[in-house]
C-alpha cells in the first residue's frame, strides 16, 4: 500500500515514501500541522536513537484539495519548520517524505520512515492509508 524507495551516496542514505491517506472525519488545518510536525520529529528522533551520525534533511509535503503543508528538519536541536496554507477541513491527502540521514543503513532508514508514518497515522486514529501516492 505504500510506495517507497531507497538511495545512497557514500554514508548518506535516503528513503522516500509517497502515499494517499484518508480519514472518516474531516481534519482541521491545525491538526494536519500537528501531525506532520510529529512525523518529521519522530523520524529524526528514531534515526538518532538507532545510531545515525546526523540528520541530513527530513522533508515532508502533504497536499489536500484546498492547500498544502510542508515540514522539514535538519536535526532535532534545530526544531521542525512547518508551513501551511490548507484553507479548510479535509478528509484526503497525498503525503510525500524524503528522509536523508547520515550513518544509518538504507534498510533501517526505510524501516524507520515507514514505521513512524504508520505509528503517527495510527495514533491519530482517524487516518488510514488508501493507496500509493504519485
Amino acid at each position: 500500500m505504500m510506495s517507497g524507495s531507497r538511495h545512497g551516496h557514500g554514508n548518506i542514505h535516503c528513503s522516500s515514501i509517497s502515499l494517499k491517506i484518508s480519514s472518516r472525519e474531516f481534519v482541521f488545518p491545525e491538526k494536519f500541522n500537528e501531525i506532520v510536525h510529529e512525523m518529521v520529529k519522530e523520524i529524526a528522533d528514531e534515526c538518532i536513537r538507532r545510531g545515525a551520525k546526523a540528520i541530513g534533511h527530513i522533508k515532508l509535503y502533504l497536499k489536500t484539495e484546498s492547500g498544502y503543508v510542508r515540514a522539514d528538519t535538519v536535526g532535532i536541536k534545530y526544531g521542525v519548520n512547518v508551513e501551511s496554507n490548507i484553507k479548510k477541513p479535509e478528509r484526503e491527502a497525498l503525503l510525500m517524505i524524503n528522509s536523508i540521514v547520515i550513518g544509518l543503513n538504507e534498510e533501517e532508514l526505510s524501516e524507520v520512515t515507514i514505521d513512524t508514518v504508520r505509528k503517527v497515522l495510527q495514533s491519530n486514529k482517524f487516518f488510514h492509508i488508501i493507496g500509493d501516492g504519485e
Binding site: S5, H7, H9, G10, N11, I12, C14, S15, S16, I17, S18, K53, A54, G56, H57, K59, L60, Y61, K63, Y68, R70, D72, T73, V74, G75, Y78, N85, M96, I97, N98, I100, I102, G103, G133
Partner: protein, 209 residues
C-alpha cells in the same frame, strides 16, 4: 538562457531561495524562469513545493546530476531551451552534489547550444548549522562534501541570518573566508528578504536596475 546553480548542503535553504528569487524576478521584472530540481530520493518533495508557487519545474530524480544524471540534464536543458526559452534557469542540485561536475555539464552544453549561458554557482550555507558543519572533526563524508561545495562556489550566501546573532554570523564569515577567500559572501534571509536584492543583481543584472 542563463543557467545559475543554486547549490549547498542538505537543508541549507536552496528551495526557499529559488522560490524567493523567482517570485521577485518574475513579478517585478517579468523574467521568464524555469527551475530544474535534482533530488536524491525518488519522491519529488522540493519540486512539488516549488510548483505550489506557480513555477515551472523539471525533475531529475533518483540520482545525482554531478555523477549519474549528466545526460538527463543535457536533454532537459535542451528541451527547456527549445520549448520554453526561459531567460533564466535555476538548477537546484541535491544537497550532496559537487559543483564542478555540474558546471562542467552545463558548459559542455554550450557546444551544442551557444545561447546557453553559465551563470553563478551560489552555495547556500545554513548559518544556524554553522558550528556543526564547520567544526574540525566533522564526519568524514560530510567534511568532503561541505568543503568542496564551499571551495568551488562563486558566491556563498549565508542563509537564515535572521535566526542567529551578529557574533555567530561574523564567526561564520571568518571561517568561510578561510575556506574560499575568492567567493563573494552575502548575508541572506529568505524570510526577511535580506540579501535577495544583491543576489538578484548578480544573477540578472538588468533586472536589478
Amino acid at each position: 538562457m542563463k543557467v545559475n546553480i543554486i547549490g549547498g548542503f542538505l537543508g541549507s535553504g536552496k528551495t526557499s531561495t529559488i522560490i524567493s528569487l523567482s517570485k521577485k524576478l518574475y513579478k517585478e521584472f517579468g523574467k521568464k524562469i524555469a527551475v530544474i530540481v535534482n533530488e536524491i530520493g525518488e519522491v519529488p518533495v522540493d519540486s512539488k513545493i516549488i510548483q505550489e508557487y506557480g513555477l515551472k519545474t523539471r525533475e531529475l530524480g533518483g540520482g545525482c546530476i554531478c555523477c549519474e544524471l549528466n545526460s538527463d540534464l543535457h536533454s532537459v536543458l535542451q528541451q527547456l531551451y527549445h520549448l520554453f526559452k526561459p531567460d533564466l534557469v535555476f538548477l537546484e542540485p541535491t544537497g550532496i552534489a559537487l559543483p564542478k561536475q555540474i558546471k562542467d555539464a552545463v558548459l559542455f552544453l554550450r557546444n551544442k547550444i551557444p545561447e546557453v549561458g553559465v551563470g553563478y554557482y551560489v552555495a547556500i550555507f545554513d548559518a544556524l548549522r554553522s558550528e556543526e558543519l564547520l567544526q574540525e572533526d566533522l564526519i568524514e563524508d560530510l567534511d568532503y562534501i561541505v568543503v568542496r561545495q564551499l571551495k568551488e562556489a562563486d558566491v556563498i550566501a549565508i542563509n537564515k541570518v535572521d535566526l542567529v546573532d551578529e557574533d555567530s554570523i561574523r564567526w561564520c564569515e571568518g571561517k568561510l573566508k578561510e575556506i574560499n577567500p575568492e567567493a563573494l559572501l552575502i548575508r541572506l534571509s529568505t524570510v526577511r528578504g535580506d540579501g535577495l536584492p544583491e543576489l538578484m543583481k548578480l544573477i540578472s543584472p538588468d533586472a536589478a536596475d
